[in-house]
């Protein structure tokens, strides 16, 4: 089963980069237009595997040529990333995506052309490089900004430091973008709770939910970062911890859950390294609104929200899911969304002391 892939070794990455360089050089020497094979990452090449419940990338590959007016820029950027990665790995240094952007961003001598103008370009080049040599960007020593916090009954080792997630004060441990090299020393927690919002995480942390329910609480702001998703995956596969997701009751919240569970379209090529197909959706649901009397705290859905709802309900992985279709139907009928914070209307600690424990006890989740 290819559910979970162990990280590649440094040497392996280096040799892949080297052979890529050799291939290009050989083409140039023999008077051929050098090209890269990049797996297609658009919707037409994204497939859903209903058995493994994961998004994955199809077989479509596009050839990108150097001597091509529309491709030379991307081509150069991509090879720029490869060269940078080689240097970083050799020096054992890591840079952020923002730093990578500044390293690549320079003007070609004698012209007005910048190799990259916007960070989105260098980010894209990094993603392309991941696809071309089938490695994570973290393995290329390029990291995203860290975002998100974790707390719980877990002890880890990170760059030699022993870190106890239960003894980190109010802030918790901030999740780095690269969690590949983290070593789990002791995992006492029984499940993982992911919340969409940092504010709600702080509520749960203050109320010591992780202690009372013996779990790990993780938050990011909005979409879960790669680091967090990889961390969820490792906890799930390496320690069999169930993963529960807590988001607002709106299309965007549901999609956050979707990405954690099935993988994202942008990173379908590394679903194997990020997705947690067994993740469950804890709330909020339409039924919660009914049960906890949140009706008077609903927020009207905007046009854009409704359009997103239409898209999501038609995704292949939701299409034949009766439970979810019911939720979508109810949301459409309500024409409104509910935020996690609305539970505070029942009492400040209601979410920590009543809502979450009850949902988990009753196993009230959507799959």
């Amino acid at each position: 089963m290819k559910l979970y892939i162990k990280p590649k070794k440094k040497e392996e990455i280096l040799s892949t980069l080297n052979s890529l360089g050799k291939k290009l050089l050989k083409e140039i020497e023999s008077g051929k237009n050098p090209y890269l094979e990049v797996p297609v990452r658009t919707l037409r090449n994204i497939r859903f595997d209903p058995k493994e419940k994961k998004l994955y990338l199809g077989e479509l590959v596009s050839k990108r040529y150097f001597l091509h007016l529309a491709q030379i820029r991307k081509f150069t950027q991509t090879i720029g990333v490869a060269a940078l990665a080689k240097e970083l790995i050799r020096m054992n240094k890591h840079v952020s995506l923002r730093e990578a952007f500044y390293i690549l961003k320079r003007t070609i001598p004698g012209t007005k052309i910048n190799i990259v103008d916007e960070q989105t370009e260098s980010n894209k080049a990094v993603e392309d490089m991941e696809l071309i040599i089938n490695a994570l960007r973290e393995q290329l020593h390029i990291n995203a900004n860290k975002l998100g916090a974790v707390a719980g009954n877990v002890v880890i080792r990170d760059r030699g430091d022993l870190i106890d997630w239960s003894k980190l004060g109010s802030g918790g441990w901030s999740v780095p973008s690269n969690v590949e090299d983290i070593e789990f020393v002791k995992v006492k927690a029984k499940f993982v709770l992911y919340v969409e919002k940092a504010a709600v995480w702080e509520r749960l942390h203050e109320d010591k939910v992780w202690k009372k329910l013996n779990c790990v609480i993780i938050a990011s702001q909005g979409q879960a970062t790669r680091g967090i998703r990889r961390l969820l995956q490792r906890l799930h596969y390496e320690f069999n911890l169930p993963v529960y997701v807590l988001t607002d009751f709106d299309p965007w919240g549901i999609y956050i859950y979707s990405v954690i569970k099935f993988g994202s379209m942008a990173l379908a090529h590394i679903s194997d390294r990020l997705a947690v197909p067994d993740a469950k959706f804890l709330g909020l649901t339409a039924d919660d609104i009914e049960e906890y009397g949140l009706k008077k705290h609903l927020i009207k859905l905007k046009e854009i929200d409704l359009r997103r709802l239409e898209q999501i309900r038609n995704y292949e992985w939701f299409k034949n899911n009766k439970q979810w279709q019911r939720q979508f139907k109810l949301m459409k009928k309500l024409k409104a969304k509910a935020e996690l914070e609305a539970l505070a209307s029942k009492g400040i600690t209601f979410i920590s002391e009543k809502y979450i424990p009850r949902k988990i006890r009753k196993k009230e989740f959507l799959d």
Binding site: I28, G31, L67, L69, T76, G80, A82, I108, I113
Partner: protein, 527 residues
């Protein structure tokens, strides 16, 4: 009482002199304001000189002098190396209106009406009161005349006539006038007129002593165009009134012979066919036909199918000459020219030749249209001219130029259109615009479209080169950084990689090949 009044009116009716008529209506001849008048004086004299030289098969050298004498007054002198005129013909040739050598002939020439230069003389005596000074060489003598036109009688009034012995080899004629006028530069000016006429007649050399100094328009060829031949009228070009007059004046004894000999393109066989169609005996005398019979005969000539008139009466240039001449004044990057086959309107043969010069380097403010009729420039009334209209009606966007609806193209372009015919259908007596007959419009458009197509081939090649150059530039720019990256990735020397990539680019983007092709095709000439 009524009877007396009629008598009074009757007394007032009298013949008016042609000269008097033109004196009162000088605007009809192009003497409406000081600027245009000065130009018209020069134009009429130069046109005369050109016609005389070409008729005598002499390579024309024309000296033009325009110098201010006091305020608003100019001395205008035009001197040619033509055959000159017999002295006894000078007085009526220059002193009497509607005397001319060309009016009755069907042959391509610049002047036609027997009015031209006399208008200038009349204008001079009207505005400054000075006589015309005319000098001609003739059989080893130099004849010098000073003369006026007697306006009321339309006759010459000679002030003086001097004769001098000179070398027998001298030939040529000059005319000098003192006129009121205003000298300007720009689109409707003497220098522009001389420039255009020297383009349209590339065998002429013009030396212009302007108020600002000497300008020389050198001839670009020593080859005179074939001399135009005189032709008889084509039946389709003759109207009933003229037909009647021809019948009355002919010396032919039978109507069949009349038709055969007074017109072109009517054989004896055709003549008999026409008579049959008119139900008239071919042997009838032309002078003894009744009104009805004349009309019947006329109708029959219009009904029978005839070949178009012969075109030996026309004298076009060739494309190469046109391009050479245009190039001298407009040294652009691309030239094209076409001489259309002769065509016919109202029974008159005509021919259109057109040329263009294109160049970003020409410093033009949009498209410049040079209109010519029988190789002489038309500078006024552009808006009502068939040439302007035809050029505006063409969709220049088809040829890769930008254009606003109904306008000339918006491009650094010189368009030259020369309309050549035995009879130019001017829209007015000022002779500055050609009437818009459908046949004429069609031919002008076809000529312009033909050179437009050639230009479009050039422009698309040029655009392709620019595209390729940009492409190669971009490739080479990225190659600089790319070789550095690849050097890091492979450990090979950057310079080596750079060299290899540059070779690859040169092979991939073949600018030079197309550029060479473009240079070869800069002049597309069809002979």
């Amino acid at each position: 009482m009524e009877f007396l009044a009629a008598e009074e009116i009757g007394k007032k009716i009298k013949e008016i002199s042609v000269a008097e008529f033109f004196e009162k209506n000088r605007h009809l001849l192009g003497y409406e304001n000081p600027t245009r008048s000065l130009l018209t004086v020069v134009k009429e004299s130069v046109d005369n000189s050109l016609d005389a030289c070409i008729e005598a098969r002499i390579l024309p050298t024309i000296k033009v002098l325009v110098k201010p004498v006091g305020s608003n007054r100019f001395r205008v002198r035009v001197e040619d190396n033509g055959p000159g005129l017999p002295p006894k013909k000078i007085p009526i040739a220059f002193g009497k209106f509607l005397v001319g050598s060309k009016f009755h002939k069907l042959k391509q020439s610049v002047g036609t009406l027997g009015v031209g230069v006399k208008g200038a003389i009349l204008y001079a005596q009207l505005t400054t009161g000075k006589p015309a000074k005319i000098q001609t060489y003739y059989k080893g003598e130099k004849h010098y005349f000073e003369l006026f036109i007697d306006v009321l009688k339309n006759t010459p009034k000679i002030v003086s006539h001097k004769v001098e012995k000179v070398s027998k080899n001298l030939h040529g004629l000059s005319i000098e006038l003192i006129v009121e006028g205003r000298y300007v530069k720009g689109q409707q000016s003497i220098p522009t007129y001389l420039k255009y006429i020297s383009i349209a007649n590339p065998y002429v050399e013009i030396i212009f002593d302007s108020p600002d100094g000497r300008i020389t328009f050198k001839r670009v060829t020593k080859e005179l165009p074939p001399p135009p031949k005189e032709i008889k009228p084509h039946p389709y070009g003759v109207e009933l009134g003229k037909f009647k007059r021809m019948l009355r004046l002919t010396r032919q004894k039978t109507i069949a012979a009349f038709l055969k000999n007074e017109f072109c393109r009517i054989s004896m066989e055709k003549a008999i066919k026409i008579c049959k169609l008119a139900r008239l005996k071919p042997t009838r005398s032309p002078r003894k036909l009744g009104e009805d019979e004349i009309e019947k005969l006329y109708r029959a000539t219009q009904m029978v199918k005839l070949r178009g008139p012969p075109t030996k009466c026309l004298s076009p240039l060739n494309e190469k000459m046109l391009i050479e001449a245009l190039k001298r004044e407009f040294p652009g990057e691309f030239f094209a020219a076409v001489v259309r086959k002769p065509s016919v309107y109202r029974g008159f043969p005509f021919q259109v030749q057109a040329a263009l010069a294109y160049g970003e380097n020409l410093n033009l403010n949009g498209c410049l249209l040079i209109r010519l009729a029988n190789h002489t420039p038309l500078l006024y009334n552009a808006g009502e001219c068939a040439i302007t209209k035809a050029a505006q009606q063409i969709n220049w966007r088809n040829y890769g130029l930008s254009q606003s609806e109904g306008c000339l193209p918006n491009a650094p372009l010189v368009l030259l259109v020369d309309f050549i015919s035995v009879w130019i259908p001017y829209t007015s007596e000022g002779k500055q615009a050609i009437a818009q007959y459908p046949e004429i419009m069609k031919e002008i458009k076809l000529a312009l479209q033909e050179i437009g197509r050639k230009l479009s081939v050039y422009l698309s090649r040029k655009r392709k080169i620019i595209r390729l150059k940009t492409k190669r530039n971009i490739f080479e720019s990225y190659a600089k950084v790319f070789s550095e990256f690849l050097s890091t990735l492979t450990g090979k020397k950057e310079d080596y990689i750079r060299k290899k990539i540059d070779e690859l680019i040169k092979k991939g983007v073949e600018v030079e090949k197309i550029e060479k092709k473009l240079k070869e095709k800069t002049e597309i000439i069809e002979l």
